[in-house]
Symmetry: C2
Subunit: 624 residues, 2 copies
């Protein structure tokens, strides 16, 4: 088993390209817009614990997690770019939190004001989840500013959690209803060096599935990942965000304890997700009912739930898997998420959001149940929202975007791994043995990556060869370099030179992709990809009734067109099919086809130009 | 406007072929099995009005309709075949009903026992619906046996309904929550000659949509067809069975009153259904939510609701439309229903039923919401049931099957119309001017129809040319006959001969059918039809994962294979597609196809051989 380290955010400066642009929008727009909307809805006021019955803006059980994720995102921005206004906001919030913290360390703005006697009694009420997010915020803020106030407060809170749940067993349940604290505790351990926190994480992970736990009404043991002890799990089950956070923590535990049994469980689950339960965009969680995984190959397009937070949790899981086992399949899934399902969750201007990122949008179908309009709609929302009552996704987007630098590299004593192609300058490693890397790339706009590595000092340089890439070339400045193609899906380069220049050129053609035919709704259709980017068709470009569009992949003559707003667009030759006038069903010989140029945009750019039909999977017409 | 008459059941003997076989099963098995199950569940006992609080088998608001439809079916069987046991059962039930009838004519086994003070207070509680079904049973039983007891009792009941709803307006609502009595009253008028009953029907039809009526909680004005006065309607809306019964009554009213405005509304609605809101099987009602019509072209396959009773209601509507306007498009829809959506509702052995006849069945998806198993399933049932709590469909199947003879012909003073191809001997017309017809045909096993018409006496003989039929030939015994092809979609033959022999041969190839591309789930797929019969693929024949099967219509070489149980089956050359090992999404060039012979069975024969995947629409692979 590997035990690869990530490079902390302080060591990486993203200098250009896709994620620089997204980070700037995040820093200038998203973080402040979310702040304003949270302030308007009373979320920050709740920290004062001054709400009383009858007042407006009653605190909600997950508001603390919204605030904590916002603070975590702010911390990353402060760390990389400095931002006095953000830092002042955070300091004030932290003062408020610490002031409100109970003498025993407890802090929860809902329970302390609304139900002080109910603390730690209801497993499903997000208490440990909120605590976990505060811990992540505290670690991030300490790393960013060196200020320990929140970190120390959260250590006191976690000490209480350890006492109640592990030492004394005095709570009426054993493991969190919504996982999150497990992976937060691993971060707290790395930040403080306090092994107890890691052990508490392992405890929560390993106790899961071993007890008759209270759960949601109407749910099954699958919903909260209680169906089995985690080491026996083989499939991804239940609420997809909870599941993704648990699997991330499991991978952490596997790595930290060199726990092969745990890693084997992680690998089974990862295989199950990536080969049977994941949308082409990296979205997971097929069903709105329970926001959950369902069955192998059950990936409906019209009703795909695919929450943005679930996609993030899959990226987090994939990244941690690489740290346990260097295999490009993990980085491939990370990449699939960060160029598709994840950025789709926020508008291009950073100001509005999708909670759920569907594979298809049909404004017409929103009015489907005309005779029972109050029946809960199973169909996706048509337009992005400024903020949600349940606002987990916007802040998850903010913190994950601001933290992207942490996800580019891995290293240990012997290797430096370039896992993601993001323009940056980095210092990798510690103890004076740092390797410096400068990466220049417009990826995924094109497939050229220039890397300058200084001070490898005998370490091997690994560069991921993406799964989508069939053809590439490598040029090295060091003619004597020893050079292995495709070790676990990576290039492995050994050079004795102090400065090594690598030019990695991946051919990036437009590819027509099919789904396993067991994915029934996509069987017989095509998706268009270029590199890691999935494209989609919108009626804004192609006229209404986009399901009347057909593509002949053999004669589509795809063209990549540059675009000022979007990464790029693709045009393909296609057809508009029409039925004989007034015939609902007809002999196929009577269908007529008109040649039409079809414009496809990156999936992540969907629904940025007003209400529009959207689909990823295109109908096929093969002309003889 | 036409005002064509149907031939009453007494004038038609079905002598062979498809519907003779179904009628025999209906007579020997279905009618008795349904009786037994109704008896076991206390439905007949409820007629005694002896249920009291605390006893088992509490009467239900729609039990009377179950019994009435059973009696109606029994009456048709008694009329055509005689059946002393059925007649005795009916006589006993009628004695019980009449004994329990209130002095003012009211009879309802639920309200009289469970809520005597609530009669005629709740629009949605099926009271007038039950009354209507008793009226239909009474007319049928009188026609079958000449016994007036139930007929007279129901006249008294209807007199009360007229008084409460029309004369006095003393009920708190104006029109029935579940339509049915409207068309029953037309039958009662024809049986008794009492014009008041026809006027009451017209009253109920025309008052609809003119009042603020109570309705289901959470429903809209669309659900119970209250969105507009009926003459202004343009689309089929709401609960599909209710809608179909209303539209049938509207067509009756149009014909009886020569009401062109009403006919125009019927025509708009019929066009809307047949061109935009009907499955290829003739099934209607896309959504389980509200059991309802939804939107134009919203015809999802996996979640199609398509209740058997709704299909029957569409056939009834289509038949009545022909009586108003001789156009083959109406008979085409009738035919589409009776060879597909309707017979699919009962097993081949007549002993088990589908309430909802879906376009796709996937046993795997039934376990979809594994994390929230109590969430109401949106997917169809996997296997047929012996009886339902809500058992409208089995008795509707029984009565419609037994009454099929009434749907073959139309006539007036100038024409005799052969609308459906069912082997039979008939006497058409009255007053000594009867035309005798002997029809020999194995339709829809093949397209040959031999007709011997005796005594046309100057009447034109019309024979429907089905919409599916592109090529046919006609041979006449009378060389001097005047002969028009395709008048309103019919052959029109004028002969002076006392005996005319017509051989009508329709070529019946296997046809690959497409749907309007706005039917999104079927766009890009093919259905297989032969004549009016839709075929489907089952995993029982083709192995599991039937969505992995692809057909190239240009090279399918379809063969029709005779079958002892089913009408016939069709084999086509096709392919089984498989994904590259372990790849969920892949470059299309990597898919592999294995040639496979695909067996297709008539849709109506689906789910007769144990749990099986089923689909109507097949994936397409065009080989260059």
């Amino acid at each position: 088993m590997n035990s690869l380290k990530s490079v902390s955010l302080s060591g990486v400066d993203i200098t250009g390209g896709f994620w620089k642009k997204r980070a700037e929008i995040n820093r200038k727009t998203t973080i402040y817009r979310v702040y304003e909307r949270f302030a308007q809805t009373g979320r920050f006021d709740a920290l004062t614990l001054s709400w009383r019955a009858g007042m407006e803006n009653k605190p909600h059980i997950f508001w603390d997690s919204d605030i904590a994720k916002w603070m975590e995102g702010a911390a990353y921005i402060i760390e990389k770019d400095g931002d006095e206004r953000l830092e002042k906001l955070c300091d004030d919030m932290i003062d408020t939190i610490v002031k409100g913290q109970a003498p025993d360390g407890y802090f929860n703005s809902y329970f302390q004001t609304c139900e002080p006697d109910a603390r730690f009694t209801r497993r499903v009420d997000h208490e440990l989840y909120c605590c976990g997010h505060f811990v992540e915020a505290a670690v991030a803020y300490y790393n960013a500013t060196g200020k320990r106030k929140l970190l120390d407060a959260m250590c006191r809170y976690v000490d209480l959690v350890e006492k109640v749940f592990k030492t004394e067993h005095s709570a009426p349940y054993f493991t969190p209803g919504h996982e999150e604290i497990e992976l937060a505790l691993v971060k707290l351990y790395h930040c403080t060096g306090e092994k107890r926190y890691l052990d508490l994480s392992k405890y929560f992970v390993d106790e899961r599935g071993r007890h008759q736990e209270s759960s949601y009404q109407q749910s099954s043991i699958y919903e909260l990942q209680d169906q089995l002890p985690v080491r026996e799990m083989t499939t991804a089950e239940g609420h997809a965000v909870r599941a993704g956070y648990l699997y991330s923590a499991m991978a952490d535990i596997a790595r930290e304890y060199a726990d092969e049994e745990m890693l084997a469980a992680c690998k089974r689950i990862f295989e199950n997700i990536s080969k049977k339960r994941m949308y082409i965009t990296g979205g997971i969680g097929s069903s709105k009912i329970g926001e959950a995984f369902t069955l192998d190959y059950d990936l409906p397009n019209k009703t795909s739930y695919t929450e943005t937070c679930a996609a993030i949790s899959l990226a987090m899981f994939a990244h941690r898997m690489t740290s346990c086992e260097l295999d490009s399949k993990y980085g491939d899934i990370f990449e699939r998420v960060i160029y598709n399902a994840f950025p789709a969750g926020v508008s291009l201007d950073g100001d509005s959001f999708y909670y759920s990122d569907p594979m298809e949008i049909s404004p017409r179908l929103a009015k489907r149940n005309v005779s029972r309009p109050t029946a809960q709609s199973e169909f996706p929302k048509l337009t992005r929202s400024k903020v949600f009552d349940c606002s987990c996704c916007p802040t998850n987007i903010t913190r994950f975007t601001a933290d992207m630098g942490e996800y580019i590299y891995f290293y240990d004593d012997n290797i430096v791994v370039v896992d993601q192609f993001i323009e940056n300058n980095a210092e990798i490693g510690t103890d004076g043995k740092t390797t410096k890397i400068e990466m220049k790339t417009s990826y995924p706009e094109n497939g050229t990556v220039n890397i300058k590595a200084t001070g490898l000092n005998g370490k091997s340089l690994f560069i991921r060869i993406p799964g989508w890439c069939d053809k590439y070339s490598v040029k090295l400045s060091d003619k004597d370099a020893s050079y292995v193609r495709e070790k676990n899906g990576y290039l492995k380069i050994d050079s004795a030179d102090e400065e090594l220049f690598v030019t990695f050129e991946m051919e990036m053609p437009v590819v027509f992709v099919e789904a396993d035919p067991r994915v029934e709704e996509s069987a017989g259709k095509l998706a268009v990809m270029r590199g890691p980017v999935v494209y989609c068709s919108e009626s804004v470009d192609n006229g209404s009734d986009i399901h009347g569009i057909y593509v002949d992949a053999n004669n589509a003559e795809p063209e990549v067109v540059s675009d000022s707003e979007m990464l790029n667009t693709i045009t393909v030759k296609g057809f508009r099919k029409t039925a004989p006038e007034g015939e609902l069903y007809f002999n196929r010989a009577k269908a007529s086809f008109t040649a039409e140029k079809i414009k496809l945009i990156p999936y992540y750019c969907m629904e940025n130009r007003g209400e529009s039909e959207m689909c990823v999977w295109l109908n096929v017409r093969t002309v003889k």
